[in-house]
Amino acid sequence: MKIAFHLFATLLWLEPAFAEPFLPTDDTLVLERTSITRRNPDDARLIAMRTRLSQLPTDATTAAALAHLYLQRARTQSDPRYLGYAQAVLAPWSTAEQPPTEIQLLRATAAQSLHDFDTALRDLDMILQRQPHHAQARLTRATIYQARGELPAARADCEQLAEAARATIAQTCIATVDALSGHAGRSYARVAALRAQLMDHDGALAPWLDGLLAEFAERTGNHDAIAEIHYRAALAATPDDAYLLAAFADFLLDHARANEVTELLRDKTRADGLLLRFALAKQQLRAPETTLLVATLTVRFAEARARGTALHVREEAMLTLKLRNDAPRALALAQENWQAQREPADARILLEAALAAHQPQGAADALHWMERTRIEDSALRALAARLNEIPA
């Protein structure tokens, strides 16, 4: 926080020169904070690994360890630069047909994080052909199938997990898929039971289960108080998890609790998805700075488009619909997103955009998906009902 304040003060001081490139006159002026610094012990370890790898770039063990570290940071700091670093470390094997399993798994994880699901699946398929009991590959593949809305394939992988991983993981995996297939209530009960059995040393699993319980409770409707307890428990363990923060912020926004959202996300707006929720909260509060936040977000998404990668199309559609009030464009974005990802949140923005644009047929794919999966989700059901009232 002190650093943030210092940076902010520095920038205010620079303010007159912003419109154009400028030549600083003060040598002590701090221009940037590095994300990796050798005084930090974790970073020092990372730097040592980099040095070692630069001497032996094809050493698979070192490369895998460093790539693993980068991918971890990409997630915990939701900083996509680390994804590129990880891929660069894995580059010597980028075209290898059969790299070491560990390398191939990391390659798939990086691709998955960049929403390049086809590439990720190709690698995971190969690993599982060689080692059908590879738990991590199995779980990652189930997650991708689930994100793409291919629920039978996801469930099949979860079932296979039972032989490869601990029962808790396999059963949670199955419950997650079932929750998307009309059994949110049953899934809640099952995961709650698993959560109660967790041992103290299962620290890493607890927030995952808590987050899922929150989602299941929210989806079934009428259990908001329970959902909130689970969200708070999960966040207490992993306060910087961007996915959890976004989900909890959406929950609070749905209940018109914008003040709590601004409090929750105040110093976490480096991630586009979280800045978006922050701006939505400011809008609910009719705060004057909403305009500036929308401008900032618009620039960020435009930059992503300019470089030819659109990582957060769902969020781009939300911005376009809710903050820029451009329903037709939002619908097009939500449809584009639906081609890549098919989770409840993806269905929701598609239904909302179609509703705002008065084009019920624009959300036909999501409506079919809801019918097919018989998904239990009170928010989605309500939206679908309103869409059906519009004369086609």
Binding site: A4, L7, F8, L11, L12, E15, F18, A19, E20, P21, F22, P24, D27, T28, L29, V30, L31, E32, R33, T34, S35, I36, T37, R39, N40, Q77, D79, P80, R81, L83, G84, Q87, A88, A91, S94, L114, R266, D267, T269, R270, A271, D272, L275, E289, L292, L293, V294, A295, T296, T298, V299, R300, A302, A304, A306, R307, G308, T309, L311, R324
Partner: protein
Amino acid sequence: MKITLRDLPCALLLLVLTAPAFAHKSSDSYLRIDVEQAHISGAWDIALRDLDFALALDADGDSALTWGEIRDARARIFDYALSHLRLLTGAVSCPINSNDVLIDQHSDGAYAVLRFNAQCAVAVDTLGIDYQLLFELDAQHRGLLRLTANGTTQSAVFGPDTRVQKLSLGTATAWSGFRGYVQLGMQHIAAGFDHLLFLFALLLPAVLRRIDNTWHSVDRLSPALIAVTKVVTAFTLAHSITLALAVLGVVQLPSALVEAAIAASIIVAALNNVWPMFSEKRWTLAFAFGLMHGFGFSGALTDLGLAREQLASALLGFNLGVEIAQLAFVALVVPTVFVLRRRVPYVRTVLAPGSALIALLGTMWLLERALDISVLR
């Protein structure tokens, strides 16, 4: 509200003042290149975070990158960046010279702005760019290019799979430039009615032969074509000579004088049809006044402010355009008058009144141009 990338600096100003921290985003560099003939000037924005990752700029390891640290590393930064960028014409590199380093803010933090110049051996038609920055460290890095040349801007994205790209500079290619000048020449003739009228006056009697002070129509097409060829060749030769001399700056005449002389040439050519002075030697008239018309053409080219390298292609193209338009006109007029010569009492209904009308027009232009008054609107 619509915000485009062009509004970036302004929007960023707002961002920095309101948002508590910079965005997390994948690494981009912003490369702006301006091409003028063989000269290139550029500015390359590279994130300080990326430069630190590549070069460990944080000398004291306190995680704060100060201006002093950047300035001290200026040579290293330039060496690193410029060893990962090549600009080429054909297969030949254009040597790049580093200029100064400035600082700018983008949505994800501070960037070094590396300014540079490059000099190519020849004027650039197609610029080859070989971009290798950071890919070895960050597979998601992208180079976003904005290339400006001849008033048009194009963009391109460089990634690990698109490191080398060739960008055609649009209108600047030799062939399309040449085509443009041909077009300009044709337009100049079509729009500049006075050149065609002069030619028309000289062509009207081509289907007649003057024997003993009276006109007789020719029997066959060939004598008419010979007369036409003489006139057109003489006119072309003459105006090509003066056009080249004027455009190359060897001879220059005041344009008012040239314009008046052209008007006068029309009157003389028309009156010659009624009271023949040059008789069968109309090509001498075409040649003499063609010299004046050449000066008239030159205005269209000198107005463009052409660079020396373009002159040859411009002169050739423009002249070719003039000749094409002129031949098209001849191809239209000559068959028509050849048919008319025996269908109607040619001298009484075509040659005399036509020439009188042309002389009248020429007179009005002359008055207009010599006295700078407006007779015709």
